[in-house]
């Protein structure tokens, strides 16, 4: 299959244009906004940021019509450990995002768009700004785009280095100049988002898929994937495989194909033990579970995990699961915004218990304690960060309890 998103020699405007770029925008501007939304719904494009919410449905929540200020925001605050596909996309194909945003903005009636890019992506932000300037010079952005009467201004905003700003309402707070903390919902951003106006927030990969959908049709895109999840997905593969990296594959591709065919299997002498399939917050799978799986939203949900952002972390049998969980706990403890009691206190507590288990000072009771602290955080907070901490804790303990018990009995890694 030919890649839709990640293609060679397409990052410059002239290259992108030569491949038929910005023709979908022209086509879209000739359609009614409702027709575009219908096309995207037909494509079964689901949000690529992690939650997998159907993109067309999200757009349709925006009050239709030309009245009132509306915003389109691209979430490029890629911070989920194990995930690095948006950065790759921004480097390789920035115009697909820009064009996708112009089409989406036209569909929802937004005159202003923002790309909230992770602060550390300084080079990507500069690259993106240059691409925007180029697109603007050619009349693909700005006033009266391609003579259609549609105006759309696009701005790049660099974040300041908080994982939580990838949560869409925390992102909006940060974009408005406040401390990045998730907002209470409802109201949802579709009604009250950026600066209090209706707002759609989509991931980079989601928006970058839009031009192809408009170009070749929703049905074509849907047919690339499974019955319920259309299109291709970027997978960021890390761990001891022969060829780690970002791979664009149709949804529904077998995990074994990703590992064996695309990544070239495990490195010599390494044996797969476990897989975190969709970024660090998704529940871990054993190697056997993973090898039997197809990579799409439904299959992973059925297996008790999530496709998430497509950040596939391969774990070999030389790795200690307690140590790995400790690393994750340190991350979530550091990144909890601190608003909600269970997350603020629970993340720190979990890290402390894992520290003593890892260092040999734990007790057998600590394993159940960890599990119950995580359980008490689940589903009880404003945003999903508490769940993102709790899910690995509970799944690591459930699937690799023996390793935790060994530590509780006094094992210390590396000794």
């Amino acid at each position: 299959m030919e890649n839709i998103l990640l293609r060679n020699n397409i990052s410059r405007l002239e290259e992108y244009f030569a491949c038929g770029g910005y023709k979908p925008l022209k086509k879209a501007l000739g359609l009614k906004p409702a027709e575009i939304i219908a096309e995207v719904k037909r494509s079964n494009l689901r949000g690529r940021g992690g939650a997998g919410f159907p993109a067309g449905l999200k757009w349709s929540f925006i009050p239709p019509g030309p009245d009132g200020q509306k915003y389109l925001v691209c979430n490029a605050d890629e911070g989920e450990p194990g995930t690095f596909k948006d950065r790759e996309l921004l480097r390789a194909n920035p115009h697909a995002l820009i064009e996708g945003m112009a089409i989406a903005a036209y569909a929802i009636g937004a005159a202003h768009g923002y790309i909230y890019i992770r602060g550390e992506f300084a080079a990507e932000a500069a690259h993106l700004n240059a691409a925007i300037a180029g697109a603007r010079a050619k009349g693909f952005l700005g006033k009266n785009i391609l003579g259609s009467g549609f105006n759309f201004e696009l701005f790049v905003h660099r974040g300041a280095g908080a994982y939580i700003c990838g949560e869409e309402t925390a992102l909006l707070e940060s974009l408005e100049g406040f401390k990045g903390q998730p907002r209470l919902k409802p109201p949802f951003p579709a009604l009250k988002g950026l600066f209090g106006s209706p707002t759609v927030i989509n991931n980079v990969e989601t928006l970058a898929a839009v031009p192809s959908i408009i170009d070749k049709g929703g049905d074509w895109y849907a047919a690339l994937g499974t019955a319920k999840s259309g299109g291709t997905k970027l997978f960021s593969v890390s761990g001891p495989v022969a060829r780690p990296g970002v791979y664009e594959l149709p949804l529904g591709t077998a995990f074994s194909e990703l590992l064996e065919t695309h990544c070239g299997g495990m490195k010599p002498g390494k044996k797969l033990k476990a897989v975190i399939p969709g970024g660090s917050s998704t529940p871990v799978l054993t190697a056997a579970e993973a090898m039997a799986l197809k990579l799409d939203y439904e299959s992973l949900a059925a297996a008790g995990s999530m496709l998430g952002s497509g950040g596939v972390i391969m774990i070999d049998d030389s790795q200690c699961m307690v140590k790995l969980l400790q690393v994750l706990a340190r991350f979530y403890h550091h990144e909890s915004c601190g608003q909600c009691t269970p997350c603020r206190e629970g993340c720190g507590w979990i890290e402390k218990v894992l520290n003593r288990l890892e260092e040999g000072g734990g007790t057998p009771g600590d394993i159940d304690l960890l599990y119950s602290v995580a359980e008490g955080m689940t589903g009880r907070t404003i945003c999903a960060l508490a769940d993102a901490m709790a899910m690995p804790v509970m799944s690591f303990i459930t699937k690799f309890r023996g390793e935790f018990e060994a530590h509780a009995a006094g094992k210390v890694c590396g000794k």
Binding site: A162, I164, K179, L184, H333, H334, E335, S336, C337, G338, Q339, C340, T341, P342, R344, E345, G346, C347, G348, W349, K352, L369, G376, G379, R380, T381, I382
Partner: protein
Amino acid sequence: MPKLTIDGMNIEVPAGTTLLQAAQQLGIYIPRYCYHPKLSVAGNCRMCLVEIEKSPKLVTACSTEAAEGMAVSTAGEKVKKARRDVLEYLLINHPLDCPVCDQAGECGLQDYYMEHSLQKSRFAADDKVLRQKRRAVGPHLILDNERCILCTRCVRFCAEVTKTAELEVMERADHSFIDLKEGRALDNGYSLNIADLCPVGAFTSRDFRFKQRVWFLKKTPTICLGCATGCQIEAQHNRNAVYRLVPRPNAETNTWLCDYGRMTYKAVQAGDRLEKAMIRRGLIDIEPALREAATRLDEFKGAAAVLGSPWLSVEDNAALARLARESLKTAAYCFDHTAEQGIKDGILINKDPAPNTAGLKKVKAAAGGLSLEEFTALLAGGKVKVLVAEAKAYGLVKAAAAAAGVRLVIFALNRGDAPASAHALLPYASYFETPGTFINYQGLRRATAPAVEPPQGVKPLWAVVNKLASYSGAELHLDSPAAALKDINF
């Protein structure tokens, strides 16, 4: 008007009503820390989680609006477990220094722990997150970050009520803490409300700190006399001493209480409180002083004048009016005071610093008398030889009276309030010690209630007037505050 059930009870509420408010109407109290009816909803403490039938997750009652057909449970096992869990999380890094904490006895952590948890801690006590301990953050408050549960009521109060925004949550996760913005102090005129709002011992009052254990305090509902707003308050006292004033929230006048109003009790217990009388700066017993003052009044009968006061109750002013008309039989009396009425800061503090300008008008309506201009002119004219007045009201005519060399018989609570030149200073019972009727800027008639006893021998002003009149030969027969109010039409 959505209809729903809460714990099996039916209720219909206006659209937009939250589950917490609807439950409250049914008499069901849902525990909460961050929620406050007069502040925006933050939804961060997670203490008010309740269960909605068919909803997979618990929801916060403070932020979830009632909807048609909802079946809400506030007492199921899921909800109880969530409350226990939240309390456990809140307590793991709490210093548990209740024995030395002023909040003990009125602490949200203590109360809810007893009611909803009673679990043994599973947290290692030596592994707590340490934060900054007590430090002054303004003239009225001490902040102890270690006790803080980060409910942000204080932050929202400063942002939304005083609009001064001194406070902010700094940092993230369990290392986050409340702090002053750089270069700021918490001195916005309403800062002590934060000590009330704070559900734990993080913010405590510098004035009240370590003075009393709260469970010893008795509570007397009364009103604040700091200005014409007339806030409803509670005087909290023990062993005949007032320790603090707190607001009694009410729909008509006040939710909060200003820092100035909260400190008004201090004058009553101050070192310069007049507990005896003074004649020409010499401290003497009240009885001989009254005899002396009566002699002066008799000496200048026909040249005596009486001034009413917007700082005195209607009863006490009415007694002064009767002194003028029935005992001194003078036309030189004035119960006239005009001041612009209204809230000057958008919160509580009134343009009129006197608590009873409206009440004084009632006395004038009944007793008549001169306008303040006429009275001042009369004093300046030199015909008046002796003036009976309350100390703060005397300030209104001070220049004219001093220039004319009028002999002064002054009622005062504190020596510091009284003119040094007074011939006689007479003590009287403050309104923390005796009931008095006041009318606030809204025209609402309210009464003070005595919380403590006056100093020995000190009587209400109307009673002192009654004695003064009888010593100068004309009985007024005032034997109760009600008797003083006889001619007043409210």
